[in-house]
């Protein structure tokens, strides 16, 4: 008896320690961001927060340069490893036909810092020797963690104080589950909608859809999309909220088709072999 109680106490301590380490499901991560020019001119400020695993997508654009980055964190004890995947475009001049010539670059930067410390991101390189340290444009990123208090949705806020630049802050969350609503359509007849909460890469499940007294059995499974073809899309994880629904019929070993889409409630249609059309919409699952 004494032994089991000591095990349970140690288990509780282990869970609490795991939560404090920033890796538990009840932890919420916040990126506080300030865009500063020449030391004291604040161009924008905002924050992005979300459950553990939330990334920050940042973009700053004007007529001569574009800097887009995806910041990801890996908590390790009291420190956190911040990695930034950068995609930049710089204007070099004009072609003989008068069109802009741009230089494109993709690279990665990372730094380790303590929770609550400030990471200063010099978007256009470190200050040149001889220039005042306050000169230039940079982004302050402060990482804070805390308990989620039951809030699982990502949140973001941005206040742009200088409209000469286009500044974007976005929370990037890869869905752990997706809510899929399916209908069968044939001519003017539509089956009743059926909704399922599916987990990406989980084994396929068998579902039945009834329409006009007839039942259609399908095997459905959710998968992540193939890696994006363009470097920019891969670097910025623009397909983070895209899922693919694989549909098969029990009689045929090969899948009937795949429907991919963002979790945005847009209906996507897939013709089935029997003449019916499957209509599927993807959405974020309801909060628990």
């Amino acid at each position: 008896m004494r032994r089991s109680s000591s095990i349970s106490v140690s288990s509780v301590f282990a869970i609490v320690a795991l939560l404090w380490a920033g890796q538990g499901p009840g932890t919420r991560v916040t990126y506080r961001v300030r865009v500063v020019q020449d030391g004291d001119l604040e161009l924008a400020r905002g924050s992005v927060s979300g459950p553990a695993g939330t990334d920050l997508r940042f973009a700053l654009r004007d007529d001569t340069a574009e800097v887009e980055a995806l910041f990801q964190i890996v908590p390790e004890g009291d420190t956190v490893l911040v990695s930034g995947e950068f995609f930049t475009k710089r204007r070099l001049g004009r072609s003989r036909r008068g069109l802009g010539l741009w230089e494109q670059d993709t690279y990665r930067r990372s730094v380790r810092l303590a929770w609550g410390d400030t990471a200063r991101v010099h978007l256009f390189g470190r200050p040149r020797p001889g220039t005042p340290p306050s000169e230039g444009l940079w982004v302050h990123v402060v990482l804070v963690r805390g308990f989620s208090g039951g809030e699982g949705r990502p949140a973001q806020e941005l206040e742009v104080l200088d409209s000469t630049m286009d500044i974007v802050l976005e929370a990037v969350v890869r869905p752990r589950r997706a809510h899929v609503v399916m209908n069968l359509v044939r001519g003017d007849t539509v089956s009743g909608p059926r909704g399922f909460d599916l987990v990406p890469e989980a084994p396929a499940r068998r579902v039945q859809l009834a329409m006009a007294g007839r039942t259609t059995t399908l095997e459905i499974g959710l998968a992540r999309p193939e890696p994006a073809k363009s470097a920019r899309d891969r670097v910025l994880a623009l397909d983070a909220d895209v899922v693919c629904l694989r549909i098969a019929t029990p009689e045929v070993a090969q899948p009937v088709g795949v429907v991919c889409g963002r979790l945005n409630d847009v209906a996507r249609r897939l013709p089935l072999p029997g003449g019916d059309t499957l209509v599927a919409t993807f959405a974020w699952p309801a909060g628990r």
């Binding site: 980055a69 930049t88 930067r109 730094v111 410390d117 400030t118 990471a119 200063r120 390189g125 040149r128």
Partner: protein
């Protein structure tokens, strides 16, 4: 065109510029009497030079005056161009950096502040 013709065309040029000795002119005259191609080229050269002399306002000129560049003026302007180029490059490098610069200098950097 053969090398020998090239040689005689240069001789024709030298003759019309008045840069040939009497013996060289005699040698050229002997060749021109036998070579219709070179005598035709000489006639063309003469026509061109007369036309240029007339356009230059000297209908009786026997030799077209060539533009002369004084050595001192040339040296002066070469030095001026060199100084302006070096000074402009120095100032531009200080203001905007080199042409393109090192790639790492323009890439983003993250520092703990």
């Amino acid at each position: 065109m053969s090398d020998s013709h090239e040689h005689w065309l240069k001789q024709i040029d030298a003759e019309l510029d008045g840069e040939m000795s009497l013996a060289e002119r005699a040698l050229l005259a002997k060749h021109l009497a036998a070579c219709s191609h070179c005598s035709g080229a000489r006639a063309s050269q003469l026509e061109v030079r007369v036309a240029l002399a007339r356009s230059a306002g000297d209908p009786h000129a026997r030799v077209v005056p060539r533009p002369t560049i004084r050595g001192r003026a040339l040296a002066f302007w070469a030095v001026v161009a060199l100084v302006v180029g070096v000074a402009g490059g120095w100032l531009a490098h200080g203001r905007w950096g080199g042409p393109g610069g090192a790639l790492e200098d323009v890439r983003a950097a993250i520092v703990v502040h």
